[in-house]
Symmetry: C4
Subunit: 296 residues, 4 copies
């Protein structure tokens, strides 16, 4: 694959960079991914530790140093990603592009805003960095059966949530009438909140029925909640079961030529960022741009 | 379909009105549905906000104005529905007819009852308006597989609830004896309430066992509850799984000519309110009355 | 069926009585069953109401009268059952025979023990009457698929409970070390109780981890509990699903000649109390005694 | 099988000992297993009772005596196991070997450490004995379908746990901002802990949202948690269902020659400890060492 003609406007090092960042099959690509993973987890740990007062008071300096190291490394990664793709705007406005930007921005903003005493705003901005955790989603392997099972039953799940909300609203209102303000059911929204807490079998106990009638109605909600939990389970279980069945016995089920069986590589196109190319593909199926994988 | 002979006693505008209200496939019908949906959600929001004391004190006037607007619009809708059907009584005494009436009545009653200091009664009547949420059920698409799965396993679900109640009664009584009044198990009904709270894994914690024996029995109830949650799930999962299987592979399963595959329109008969007519039907399958859809 | 030769030692009225009590298909049998159902529910309601102090203080006399009526009617039923079967001892020592005796005894015992100031003992005896609720189990239709699904997976359920107990013991002990007495984890049994409360997602909150490490370990237990709830569900779901599949498509599955398809009657043998006779059976399959159903 | 030539360096009594300890099919082996089971349960009960202050104060002497008896018996078992296998180191460094050592060690260490006032360390060491409960795992029958179903869906379960942690981290951070310190959400780790408590429907109630917005977000988490509980259930249910299906109808499914159908004996090889030998095997499938079962 090394002798494919290179487009003129692409330097060798750009290609190399692209391969390291967007490709997970080569040793360099793997190393980059592992380092990034560690960096993300470290940065989330830092945000968390900073929020614990005792730790922040004692180690404020070191947490700040750690933050700056993480922020600078994320900035380098962000710039490298922009440089190595042909159409940077596509990356910048993609989902991960925005997440990557949000991961670096807050620390720089804290520098500018420090003088203006906008302490509360900074605090909120700092926490934006927690969204770095979404970067981990890259490693979840987005195309698994689970996601497709959930997608297939999306409409049914919405109907289910809608039903739960209707039931909670009606029962919440009834409990507001039955229990009243003196037992903690001080308004309908609060009663509906309680009804959802009960229906989903969470049961905090911060609000709990005190009257005999209220407790009777509660048991109805509980048994209802205990029963209808079966509904989402039934939906996903059936969808998932079907998807795996047709997956394993393709001749028995519907003609479902599942793409999972085609060997795919982990490369994304340097030009349009499309991924899931076939293992032997030499050109992007989306924009026709050549795909390069340097063999080490 | 425009040249079907019109019955003499039906004016053109009545037909038009019927089409707007009961038909969701034409642009006018769709617009009406969306406006109604927004109106219902707004009215429920108003009822909820009114129950929050702080909000009611501050915005009482505007909430009242909003209430009157919603009530008048619902009244117009109610009258329009009565006019546009041939046999109004059928609509009035139908499930949705009663819901529609209950949605408008309370505000008018509050006018009459204000002079009589019947404040508590009004408050309860006002909350009747929350039942408007049931109007949303129209949009749930009543004929889905879920409902049929639940219907098919109705008898088993009843047996299950019955079993849960029996287990809760026995364990509740035992706990009443073991823990006694001093630990919050002050009567058998209250202990049974606790047993249901525990069995359904809600676990408020407002009543909790204090003695060692009581805690031991509790763990038995918990593991029991944790285990038997599998039962409704198993029932619905199996029923649902079967219904979707026969749906997809009709030749493999029982000869189950599921009507879902017949293209249906969203029109309901002007005369008898029956719906789920075939897409090409020109006469009501229930009463033989002609069905009109004006193409725009 | 009327001309089957009657055994000499059986009087006509005994047969009639047997039919009313043990047979649910004849009008008299049905009426008896419904009356008994109401009586059982009434008696349980009485026991429950008696335990509520305020109600007992106000209506003590009427509750006592109700109790005596119920007790006398149950006594008559008990005697009638003994008379109408050929081998009374079989009934007396059967599961329902003992339940029936326990339902009547306590009230009589309370008469004898009143003089002896044995108040606590009486109180406990009174509550024995709650076991009448088990009589309702007769109406559950013991031979349904659910029970057979549970029976089929009995061994797996035991392994599952065993696993839950082992996990709870280990995590309970760890939490006892981590949290210690000052945070409510005062002994290992109490910590194991807490671990089961958490693992089964009941979550009372009477004991809750306070230290950071304790909360971290708790989240592990919670996610574990949240995950392994799938296990009993999966077991019963699969067993139930299979049992209904083979039930509906007997040719596809294993040669499973399910007896549910054989029309059974509700008669039980007058001599040995065996039930589930075939609809056309004239002799008991268990003891060979003739079965009589008088057609009205 | 008795006339298989015995290797010279194995004495008759060693073989006998091996058979008793590692073989569960002979009467002696069964007796040994039952006695060991009782001993393990007794030792765990002792550890638990010791942790209850009131019991420890009153019965300290007897608990100590019981502990010594159990410890000495476990020591004998440990030594017997080492003697009866050909390659003792294999056993010593096996999973159960380490568990067996940890079960005996703490009591002896408490003797040595008593003089050094290392009270806290001893206390922790004592609790190591709770790991004896893992010895019970031997009786669980490790090779059942359940374990294989869980193993088959391991990757999916990990993705699921990962998703739960990501959701909890994001929602926990949001709630930390919304509710703040004054409502108990004093740091991000604590808020994430709360989010997991809510998502898994445990719901202690030690921390509960107080603001309207916080309660609104909570209901989203609850419904999310209530819904995604379906995911692990769906996974295991489908895997389990498939494994039992292919198990029962081997010709229909994939060519899955499940070894469960081969009659296995409970013997483990005296030389390499490998088990699951075929019922008629005379030599170890792993090391070729002859297997001896003395028929009584």
């Amino acid at each position: 694959m090394d002798n494919t003609p290179l487009p003129d406007n692409n330097k060798k090092w750009k290609l190399k960079l692209h391969e390291i960042i967007y490709e997970a099959d080569t040793p360099n690509g793997k190393l980059f991914d592992i380092l990034l993973l560690i960096l993300i987890l470290a940065s989330i740990l830092l945000v968390m530790l900073e929020s614990v007062k005792e730790i922040d008071l004692q180690y404020h300096f070191w947490l700040n140093v750690g933050e700056w190291i993480v922020t600078i490394l994320f900035t380098i990664e962000y710039i490298a990603r922009i440089i190595s793709v042909k159409k940077p705007w596509r990356y910048i406005f993609s989902f991960y592009g925005i997440i990557d930007l949000l991961s670096t921005l807050p620390k720089y903003l804290s520098l500018i805003l420090v003088g203006t005493h906008a302490l509360v705003a900074i605090r909120a901005l700092r926490l934006l960095r927690i969204f770095r955790i979404l970067k981990l989603a890259r490693y979840l392997g987005a195309s698994n059966q689970l996601t497709s099972a959930i997608k297939a039953s999306r409409a049914k799940i919405l109907v289910f949530i809608f039903t739960v909300v209707i039931i909670a609203t009606i029962f919440g209102t009834i409990m507001y009438l039955v229990e009243g303000e003196e037992n903690g059911f001080s308004s309908i929204p609060r009663s509906v909140y309680w009804a959802i807490v009960t229906l989903t079998t969470v049961g905090y106990g911060d609000i709990a029925p005190q009257t005999a009638l209220g407790q009777l109605i509660s048991t109805v909600i509980m048994i209802l909640g205990y029963g209808i939990i079966a509904v989402p389970t039934g939906i996903i279980s059936a969808e998932y079961s079907r998807s795996t069945t047709t997956d394993e016995h393709p001749k028995k089920g519907v003609a479902n030529h599942n793409q999972d069986h085609v060997p795919l590589n982990t490369l994304s196109c340097q030009s349009c960022l499309a991924d899931k190319h076939k293992d032997k593909a030499e050109y992007c199926y989306n924009c026709g741009h050549p795909l390069f994988i340097e063999k080490d």
